[in-house]
């Protein structure tokens, strides 16, 4: 069965008119003399999302992601270009937009669902499920204004996904909420994908984009910088960010001195180092994507030093998700590891051999990272490709190296 595009966008442009004074808007209306300056937010955006696919939008702050979502949802009109959206859309553009603070969560379920176009009868059926999913318990009958921001978004997310729209549009909703709820959200969204629903998803969490989206679009200053497979787009975007970030420059305070100050002023544009690659190999040097339990793995990372006299610690971690470590390996726990200082331009190859991998089931990632001298501040990290544990016999989450003896006396 061929998949019809649910969302088609062609040569979409969006300009905002900026008026210096509010009355200019009126003067322009009456005199028809242009009084505004144009601010181009989006230019020439084209893409299509097929039914059952999920689509990620990434980009820096102010790149135009939210504007694009608003146009997709229909709260903003494009200046020019064509756009077609087929099916019922549920949008989570803001946490609990449309919640009335004075009313209870339960009352707000009805209110919000009515906004999404669901009848009261259907909502009565879903009510229990929504409350259960949101995990709000007794809070559901308290006014929404007493909720924490996490509770707010939990309720909003529960409602939006429960009404079973054809298309779900989410803007940064997952970043709030505790770990348990984030997990539930991801599960719900995966369920959504299995049900062949369409999803448009904008996030700064690259991990979620990679996990949840088939294709991704990278918007840079209102233009499409890249569109395609989400893994590829995310990788390129991360690369771009790593080469332009300025905030992760960790330097020790050098005693006053004009020379040093000048130097540091120049260097705010430069970071300390860059992790070029993180890979997982067998002892023979073969790259692996499937891990055999109790085998030996070689974790490798290549680090490019970008400043002189860099010192620091290295670390690897096995991660179940972006925030859930399974095991960590840090150089500060080991004596006799070369910690520098390293000089600008040097390429460091860091290798860690891990014997008898204990994971028996599941999927995980390897995270390579660099920390400052104290080992507290991690300022560079990079994920490997996803690794899957090879099927094996047994039960339980881990496996241990073991030896049996049965003696019969």
């Amino acid at each position: 069965m061929s998949k019809l595009p649910r969302i088609t966008v062609e040569n979409l442009n969006k300009e905002f008119r900026i008026y210096e004074r509010p009355q200019d808007r009126l003067i322009e209306l009456i005199s028809r003399k242009p009084k505004h300056t144009l601010f181009k937010v989006l230019s020439d955006i084209s893409f299509a999302v097929a039914e059952g696919k999920s689509f990620g939008i990434i980009g820096n702050n102010g790149a135009g992601k939210s504007t694009l979502l608003k146009i997709l949802v229909g709260t903003l009109q494009p200046t020019s270009g064509n756009m077609a959206v087929q099916g019922q859309v549920a949008a989570l553009l803001e946490l609990g937009a449309g919640f009335h603070p004075e009313f209870s969560g339960r009352r707000n379920i009805f209110l919000n669902a009515a906004l999404l176009g669901v009848s009261d009868e259907n909502i009565v059926e879903m009510e229990k499920e929504i409350i259960e999913f949101s995990g709000l318990g007794n809070f559901i009958d308290r006014p929404v204004k007493t909720y924490s921001s996490g509770m707010y978004v939990r309720l909003a997310f529960s409602i939006a996904t429960m009404v079973q729209p054809d298309i779900l549009v989410i803007d940064e909703a997952l970043s709030v909420g505790d770990m348990a709820f984030q997990k539930k959200c991801v599960q719900r969204m995966n369920k959504f994908r299995e049900d062949e629903k369409t999803m448009v998803f904008c996030s700064h969490s690259m991990f979620h984009i990679q996990e949840l989206c088939d294709t991704a679009i990278w918007i840079h200053e209102g233009r499409i910088k890249e569109i395609g497979d989400s893994n590829k787009v995310v990788a390129d975007y991360e690369d771009f960010c790593n080469s332009s970030t300025t905030y992760n420059n960790i330097r020790e305070d050098i005693p006053d001195g004009i020379e040093n100050r000048k130097q540091s002023a120049q260097e705010t544009e430069v970071q300390d180092c860059r992790i070029n690659t993180v890979s997982v190999q067998t002892p023979d040097g073969e790259e692996v994507t499937e891990v055999v339990p109790l085998s030996t793995l070689v974790l490798k990372m290549e680090v490019e030093v970008l400043i002189d006299n860099m010192e620091g610690h290295f670390g690897f971690a096995f991660m179940r998700s972006s925030e859930e470590p399974l095991a960590t390996f840090l150089t500060q726990n080991f004596e006799g590891v070369n910690r520098g200082p390293f000089q600008k331009g040097e390429i460091l190859s860091i290798t860690l051999v891990v014997e008898s991998v204990a994971m028996r089931i599941g999927e995980f990632y390897v995270l390579g990272g660099m920390a400052d001298k104290s080992g507290l501040l991690w300022y560079e990290s990079k994920f490997s490709k996803r690794l899957t544990v090879a099927a094996n016999k047994g039960v339980g989450a881990i496996i241990m190296k073991s030896a049996w003896t049965v003696e019969q006396n």
């Binding site: 008119r17 009126l26 903003l76 906004l115």
Partner: protein
């Protein structure tokens, strides 16, 4: 295009009944939930106004209801005009903030925005119809009831449509011109004194000035209520103003709102 907009406007509360219902219930009850006094405040304002006006005009100025309405207490004469006016004034005064208040919703959620001015007008009318009805029951007991009272809901309905049209225009324009807010408050005061509510129109000696008052539809509404309630008749001239003006206001106000609502997102 034109007819589509009008149709969407006319159908709005019926097609989106659930939303309309929920919105109205939400805003109606939120009038009471946030403050301690709740219902009390809603009725305190008109009551205090009425007491003051009665004191000033009936007691100090010794104003009397015009003789053509028969032997009647001036306070009753005043109230018949004042209660429907208060419904109008309440809706009109809230109009500038209606859309602006809902800005977060409008920019984040897609829904028929035309519901907003409609609920914004329904709520004050629902609220004040309670007071007006109580007052009418009181008058009925005093023996004023007549067959022509059947016309009252009809006139009140027309006044609602008249208000709704104005509310739609003001609420939409205020998105672009925030200064309108101050102007509306001022306009309301002027309009109140130019409508013969606290004085009978017959107090104006000059006939041509009296005729100028026919330009004010609220004057016709107030006069229609008084004639129906107290005399059991209504002068055709008032009906001839009320009916077309209400319909024109309703349709054209709605049309303007529908025309510019798509631009709200950019400004809010």
């Amino acid at each position: 295009m034109f007819f589509n907009l009008i149709r969407e406007w006319l159908q709005a509360p019926f097609v989106n009944y659930r939303l309309f219902h929920n919105f109205t219930r939400q805003d109606f009850f939120s009038q009471f939930t946030a403050s301690m006094g709740g219902v009390l405040w809603l009725f305190l304002t008109p009551i205090v106004h009425l007491v003051i006006y009665s004191f000033v005009f009936s007691y100090i100025f010794r104003m009397r209801a015009p003789p053509e309405f028969g032997e009647i207490n001036f306070v009753i004469f005043l109230m018949i005009g004042y209660l429907p006016w208060f419904a109008f004034a309440d809706a009109f005064g809230r109009a500038p903030n209606l859309v602006i208040e809902k800005a977060p919703l409008i920019t984040k959620v897609v829904f028929p925005v035309q519901i907003i001015p409609i609920t914004g007008t329904v709520i004050p009318y629902l609220t004040h119809i309670i007071g007006f009805t109580i007052f009418l029951v009181y008058l009925a007991f005093k023996g004023y009831m007549s067959v022509s009272w059947i016309l009252l809901p009809f006139i009140f309905g027309l006044q609602f449509l008249f208000t709704l049209g104005l509310v739609a225009v003001i609420s939409a324009l205020c998105v672009f011109l925030r200064d309108l807010q101050q102007m509306i408050a001022l306009m309301l005061t002027v309009w109140f004194f130019l409508t013969p509510i606290i004085y009978p129109i017959s107090l104006i000696q000059n006939e041509s000035v009296q005729r100028l008052f026919l330009l004010n539809p609220m004057h016709s509404f107030v006069s229609a209520y008084r004639e129906i309630i107290l005399l059991g008749t209504v002068s055709p001239v008032h009906l001839m103003i009320i009916v077309p003006v209400s319909i024109i206001s309703y349709i054209s106000g709605g049309w303007l709102f529908m025309r510019i609502k798509h631009a709200f997102g950019d400004v809010l």
